[in-house]
């Protein structure tokens, strides 16, 4: 299978650090900001981000995990329903600035569903989107990230695979691979 490296572990670390500095610039002391990791893979990025943010700024930000499975627009349009993941949000987002965090932005449909799911926890003051990899020119919805690590041009036949060392991979790395045709 053909694989092309998009980001290696050093580049990912630099990007996460950059994200932290951008967030500090834009959100000051984070007194009205909360973070939501979009299931299933956003929480992995978010956990790393909040740990680094605490290390850099000394601030512990409120964060949670949001699952949008029950808000997807492809229910009954695919052969089987997707398996839902845990939603864990111990706070209301009413009047808060919310930063949604995910690993890859592709069609924008998951983000749309996530914003729909998010509203169940209140009406946010502002919502921002933070993405490690932005797959350009593939969007079905008018959704654009406020923070991105790297923009890539990909084909429908390709897949962006995000590997984390603490999930059993050799190193943190992001690859573009060809989708399995079988």
């Amino acid at each position: 299978m053909q694989k092309r490296l998009v980001l290696d572990h050093n580049q990912i670390a630099i990007i996460l650090r950059r994200f932290c500095h951008q967030l500090i610039e834009n959100h000051d002391d984070f007194d009205n900001t909360v973070f939501l990791g979009l299931q299933p893979r956003g929480p992995i990025v978010l956990d790393k981000l909040v740990a680094l943010l605490e290390e850099i700024s000394g601030v512990k930000v409120p964060f949670g995990y949001l699952d949008a499975t029950f808000h997807r627009d492809d229910f009954r349009r695919r052969d089987l329903p997707l398996t839902a993941n845990e939603t864990k949000i111990d706070f209301l987002i009413e009047g808060k600035k919310v930063v949604l965090v995910d690993d890859v932005l592709y069609k924008g449909r998951s983000v749309r569903a996530a914003m729909d799911a998010m509203i169940a926890f209140g009406r946010p003051q502002k919502v921002e989107l933070m993405i490690l990899i932005d797959r350009k020119y593939t969007r079905d919805y008018p959704i654009k990230p406020d923070y991105f690590g790297r923009q890539v041009n990909t084909l429908e036949s390709q897949h962006v695979s995000v590997e984390w060392k603490d999930k059993g991979f050799e190193q943190d790395a992001i690859w573009i691979t060809e989708k399995d045709k079988s």
Binding site: F70, P81, E86
Partner: protein
Amino acid sequence: MSQLSTRHLLGIKDITEQDIHTIFDTAQNFKEVINRPIKKVPSLRDITIANIFFENSTRTKLSFELAEKRLSADVVNFSSSNSSVKKGETLIDTVNNILSMKVDMVVMRHSSPGAAHFLSRNINANIVNAGDGTHEHPTQALLDAYSIKEKLGDVAGKKVAIIGDILHSRVALSNIFCLQKLGAEVMVCGPITLLPKHIASLGVKVEYDVQKALEWCDVANVLRIQLERQQIKYFPSLREYSLYYGINRKMLDRLDKEIVIMHPGPINRGVELNSDVADSEHSIILHQVENGVAVRMAVLYLLAGAK
């Protein structure tokens, strides 16, 4: 992906252990949903569900209706007391008429065992059995087992005593199938006249002394005396039944362990359960009601989701 091995939920006997785990995992997520400030998700917004109840029901019907509305389904309700069934219409005709109105799923309660199976063979919609005579009540068994899992961490290896009117209970049969599939040990306990003759052939223990059953079990699922199904007298009086089989606080205090008390409702207070037990810290009866909505949401979601 989440998939059930069936497109109907007719009985626990017909589904696999994996199906039960899939329903529990999905119900866990729906339990979080129904505790949100906004308790509704849009998953079933293009689905119409008919709740067809040929027998009286309060909580099951309410629980299904709430589950359907939380999933954003359109709901039509039908009960036999004010329908054409009274005018002699057959079950198939009634349901086909309702399906002609483009209904996707049918939740049905009927007094005849096998009614849901019959329907599933004759109409093209997902069928959920909400109780068929004395046969099965699958969603009740699922929510009971889910509540045990939630309270005790697991169902496997637990000892569950089903106490009361086993003979007329569809809850008992579905519970036996469900608990055994999940690896629990099951005992039935009641007066000899209210236990089916060959119940032991299902692999359950049989006990006639309620105190001994309580000493044996981790969970006591206490059933109602179903007077409406009893054509003859199975015991001399309710007072005598209560004296021998009613569970009170003193009986629990005599045990050297904590047990969990369950009841599918409605409770006949002072008959099978005293208030000092039904309202005690041992009781998870109200949790069962809450879990009922989550489990029914999971069942409807999984059945509707498969093409």
